[in-house]
């Protein structure tokens, strides 16, 4: 087990940063998502052994939380969100410094610095001063600094932050390769749910200090099999009333003229046409809802996605079905 936390809580004054967090994570790639103030940073601090919880217990990489500290950080590589560079140093010196601070013998740190810089694609730039590195290269450099002591677990805090689309793709490709080649476990803390979807097998969703969902992304999507997007022309209120009367759960995603509905178990799409005919409206859009991580996140945290201020009419999905 990579992480096994039981009833972990942490409070800062009046703020409950972590509230009875229970978490079991298998080795692999894990996305840690949540809004600002959800408790991600506090959880990362606990995972890094920087913070002792007020209550609860658990293990990280087999190390008891109570004993976690510098020993644990020797087995974890942390890539901070901020630029975090040291002026006047060269790339290879910066990465070697990271190795020194992790406790590697200096010669080993220097040798590994060259290796990991080559690996992340900065081999040619290693003798340049850090001031000359672009944002994308600084991100790679920080990844190299986190990898230098060959940790079992990598904690990456917003690794694609501030990157242009090409830089983001390159970084994701690099991480994917790292996972495939070295088999390291990665905890990816990010606001970009697309990154989590592309890289991670498991996800942990935090909201107001609580874990609202955790598990493999595929298993979390299972519940979406009988969810549909529904578009219509005519009296919407009558349609909604008919749907509710038939036991269909109705959600309104934002202000768009579109409903997200969950049909009762065993009901087919024909039910919707039947109900629409009864309510006197015409269905213009019916598509099985393939819930992405973003929608899953909004659903489990009881939030609505921010409205899109776009005056163009809502696009018709490709899967419009009439008379199905």
């Amino acid at each position: 087990m990579l992480v096994d936390l039981a009833h972990v809580s942490r409070r800062y004054g009046q703020v409950q940063a972590l509230d009875d967090v229970c978490l079991q994570l298998e080795p692999g790639t894990i996305g840690l998502v949540g809004n600002n103030g959800a408790g991600k940073s506090t959880l990362l601090k606990v995972l890094l052994g920087l913070l002792r919880p007020d209550a609860g217990h658990g293990t990280i990489l087999g190390v008891e939380l109570a004993e976690a500290g510098s020993r644990l950080r020797g087995r974890i590589g942390y890539m901070p969100e901020s630029a975090a560079t040291v002026p006047l140093l060269k790339g290879v010196e910066f990465v070697a410094l990271s190795g020194d601070l992790y406790g590697m013998p200096h010669r080993d740190a220097q040798r590994r610095a060259h290796e990991v810089l080559n690996y992340v694609g900065l081999g040619e730039l290693r003798y340049r001063r850090l001031e000359e590195y672009s944002t994308g290269n600084v991100q790679r450099l920080k990844l190299a600094a986190a990898l230098v002591h060959d940790p079992q677990l990598l904690l990456l805090d917003e690794p694609t932050n501030g990157l242009d689309p090409a830089g983001r793709v390159t970084m994701l490709e690099l991480l994917r390769d790292l996972i495939a080649q070295t088999g390291k476990s990665i905890i990816l803390c990010t606001h970009l749910l697309g990154d989590v979807e592309r890289l991670c097998q498991q996800v942990v969703m935090l909201d107001r200090g609580r874990v609202v969902r955790s598990g493999s992304i595929d298993s979390l999507r299972v519940g979406a099999a009988n969810r549909f997007e529904l578009g219509w022309e005519g009296n919407g209120e009558a349609l909604v009333a008919a749907l509710k009367h038939a036991g269909v759960t109705v959600e309104r995603p934002g202000e768009a003229p579109m409903l997200l509905v969950t049909a009762p178990a065993g009901a087919g799409t024909g039910l919707f046409f039947e109900l629409a005919a009864r309510a006197g409206v015409v269905l213009t859009h019916l598509k099985r809802d393939e819930e992405d991580l973003e929608r899953l996140f909004f659903r489990v945290t009881d939030q609505h996605p921010p409205p899109v201020h776009d005056h163009a009419p809502a696009p018709l999905a490709e899967g419009v079905a009439h008379g199905n």
Binding site: L50, S82, A84, L89, D100, G103, P105, D157
Partner: protein
């Protein structure tokens, strides 16, 4: 700049004690200072001064130099002709002058060595490795101390060794071992006080201009003020306001009976004041470093 899969290998060595991370911090700090070309001007000034003293000792100890010239040199460089144990004031003068130049270097390098860690948010980088806040503070204090020692204590020790070598016997070292102890203690006072004050100031002010202005105000304006008050009132205790005087006086406590420029009783007060200031600065520094969030 693609991914080079061929170069990734695992590492299976043993990690060392986190305290040794302080050595890495010192090494990096020295690299940073010596890599900035403008600092070499100040370092060159220190070197020139050292060479003057080196040449003076050579002239004093060689019989080929006329006696009158030797007397002039003795007076100019502060070395006493009173006897074999009369050289302490020469070392004091040397270290005092060197440390004046070092003060200028420190005023400009505080921002680079410490301020930039806070300004560039590099502190989370350091503290998320195996070292913790204590190691970071200790590493930075050591870095400044090593810089101060390299330019004050180490050359003074070299001068002491030179004096003994040129006298042609080991009697000088045997009889005047107190001079060496005095040099080392004075160096220690300089290192401890200057490093704590500079690191604390740099952690709060962060940028070069505010650090340099405050640093100069502390060591020049207070010096002027203390001197003015002492002269006007005729009460020498006002000199205790001047941190430079305090460092000098505390350092001279070890230079025994030839420490003529400072009243002996003020020396102990100076030491007490320095100890209080350093304690307060350390408390403020710890508070400042603790306030930084490692995971933001």
């Amino acid at each position: 700049m693609g991914i080079d899969r061929a170069h990734y290998h695992g590492w299976e060595g043993k990690l060392r004690w986190p305290l040794l991370g302080c050595v890495a911090l010192v090494r990096v700090a020295l690299v940073q200072v010596f890599r900035r070309k403008s600092y070499w001007f100040v370092i060159a000034l220190c070197l020139v001064q050292f060479l003057f003293f080196f040449a003076a000792i050579y002239a004093i100890t060689q019989a080929t130099v006329p006696v009158q010239t030797q007397q002039n040199i003795l007076r100019t460089f502060g070395f006493s002709a009173e006897g074999p144990s009369g050289e302490e004031s020469g070392y004091t003068r040397f270290m005092g002058r060197q440390s004046l130049v070092v003060m200028i270097l420190l005023a400009f390098s505080g921002s680079l060595l410490v301020g930039s860690d806070f300004r560039n948010k590099s502190l989370p980088f350091y503290l998320s490795r195996r070292i913790d806040r204590r190691h970071y503070i200790l590493g930075k204090l050591l870095a400044v101390s090593v810089l101060v020692s390299l330019l004050t204590t180490l050359p003074a020790v070299v001068l002491y060794v030179e004096f003994g070598l040129f006298t042609g016997s080991i009697d000088y070292w045997l009889n005047d071992w107190r001079s060496l102890v005095a040099v080392l203690v004075y160096g220690l006072v300089l290192c401890v006080t200057l490093s704590i004050m500079l690191v604390t100031l740099s952690a709060y002010l962060q940028r070069m201009a505010p650090i340099a202005i405050t640093w100069c105000s502390l060591f020049l304006l207070l010096r002027r003020l203390a001197s003015y008050l002492a002269n006007e009132t005729g009460y020498p205790a006002w000199l205790l306001l001047d941190p430079w005087h305090d460092i000098h006086a505390a350092g001279q406590l070890c230079f025994a009976r030839h420490a003529v420029s400072v009243e002996p009783q003020l020396g102990w007060w100076s030491l007490a004041i320095l100890a209080s200031v350093c304690t307060l600065c350390l408390a403020a520094l710890v508070h400042r470093v603790r306030a930084v969030d490692i995971v933001q």
